[in-house]
Subunit: 225 residues, 2 copies
Amino acid sequence: MERNCKTCPFNSKAATTLCDASFDQLSENHLVLKFKKGDTVIKQGMYSTNVVFLRTGLAKIHLTGPYHEQIVKLIKAPTYLGLPTTFGDKINQYSVTAVSDVEVCFIDVQVFQTILNENREFSHEIILELCRNELESFRRCANRTQKLIRGNMADVLLEFSEKIFLSDSFTMPLSQSDLANLVDTSRESVSRVMTEFDKDGIIKVNGKQIQILNKKSLKLISQNG
Amino acid sequence: MERNCKTCPFNSKAATTLCDASFDQLSENHLVLKFKKGDTVIKQGMYSTNVVFLRTGLAKIHLTGPYHEQIVKLIKAPTYLGLPTTFGDKINQYSVTAVSDVEVCFIDVQVFQTILNENREFSHEIILELCRNELESFRRCANRTQKLIRGNMADVLLEFSEKIFLSDSFTMPLSQSDLANLVDTSRESVSRVMTEFDKDGIIKVNGKQIQILNKKSLKLISQNG
DNA sequence: ATTATTTTGTGATTTGCATCACATTGCATA
DNA sequence: TATGCAATGTGATGCAAATCACAAAATAAT
C-alpha cells in the first residue's frame, strides 16, 4: 500500500491536474488500494463518502435491474467512479467490480469538493467528462434496444478491441453470462452468436482468447441486422 | 420577445442562481424565444454555441438510432439542454422538439462558461444535475431493455402522471408513434396495450385524454411482467 | 364542406430469442 | 488424481412482439 500520488501513472488529464494541483491535500487524504479480480470495489446501496479513482486495471459497472443484473459497461483505468453518488445522496447507485486486478484511490468527498472549488481547470474537466458520459449513455441505450443480438455482440467485440485493448486479439475479460447481461440477452444466445461468428470466419475463438479476423464484417453486422 | 431575465419564472435552483448572480451578463447575451408545438429547438448534427434553457413548456429529447428515431425522454421546464454539446465539440448530439408551445433562452457558451467559472454554487449545481442525468440514464436503459411492453408503458404513464403533469388525468402529449419510440416497441403494440389497460379498468382513454383509475395496478405491472 | 393526410384500432402471420433441458468442457480445491 | 462446481455448447419448444395488411377515425388542408 503506497500513498505517494506523484507516482501514479495518471494519463487522464483530469487526474494529472488533480494530482499536480493538490498533492498535499491528496496525499494526506487518499488511500491507494489493491483489489483482486472479482472483488467488489463499489457496492450498490452502500453509504459512501469517497470518490473512487480507478488507477489501473479493468472493472465493470453494474446495477440491479427489474429482473436481473444489468452490466452497464466495461471500464478501463484511468477513470473516476462514483461521482454521481458522491455528489448525490451518498448511497451508491451502482456496483463496480474488478474484472482484472485493479488499483484504486479512494478520495474523500470533502477533499475532492475543495479541490474542485479551488481548481477551475479540474472542475471544467469533470463537467466535460460527465457530459460525455451522458451522451454515451443515450447512444448506448438506443443501440441496445434497437439492435439485434448479433449487432450488439459485434459492437461489444469492436469496442473491446478498439477502446479497451487497442488490439485485434485479446483475452475476453467477461464470462458469457456477463456478456449476456451487457448486451441484454441470454447466456445461450451469446454462446450461439460467438460460434456463428467463428464459423463465418469473422473472429477466431480459442477459449477466452479472441482474435478479430474481419473487422469489416463486424461493422456491417453492427449496422445491419 | 422579452429580454429581462428577472421576470423568468425560474424555479430551478440552478437557473435562479444563474440569473441572480449574473443578470447583467445574461440580459446582454441571451435571447428569449418562443417555439410552437412541433418546432425543432435543437437539431441533431448542427453546430451550436448556445446552452439552451427551457423556460416553459414540454419538449422531447430524441436522436437517430441505428434503425429508427429514439425518443430519450419527455422533459418539462425548467431545465438546461445541450450542455454536453456546448462543452463538447459544439455539434448537437441530439434533437429537441417542442411538444407544447415553449419558451426558450439561448445563452452563449462563452457567457455561460464565464458564469460557471465565477459562480461556485452554480457550477456545483450543474455538476449535480449532470450526475443525476447519468444515473437516470442507467436506470432508464436497464428498465427499457429488461421490461416487457406492458411494464414500460405502465412506467411511462406513471411518469407522465407523477413527474410531468402532477395529476391523475392529463392529455397525452405524444402520439402513439412517439410513445413507441420512447418505450422501443411498435406503434401497434402501444395501441394494443392502451386498449388493454382501458378494458382492464386501469386507465380511461378518451382520445388523447388519459385518466389513471388504478395506480396500484400500474405499479404492479411495472414491476412484474 | 370536401378532400387529403396523418393518426389510430385490430386481426393474421412470422420470427427472433428466451427458456428448458442436457451434454461437455474447463478449472479449482480437496 | 480424483471430485466438484462453474462456464460453455447445442438442440427442441414456446412465446412476446414485430411485421404485414387493412379499416376506421380524427386532423389538417383546400
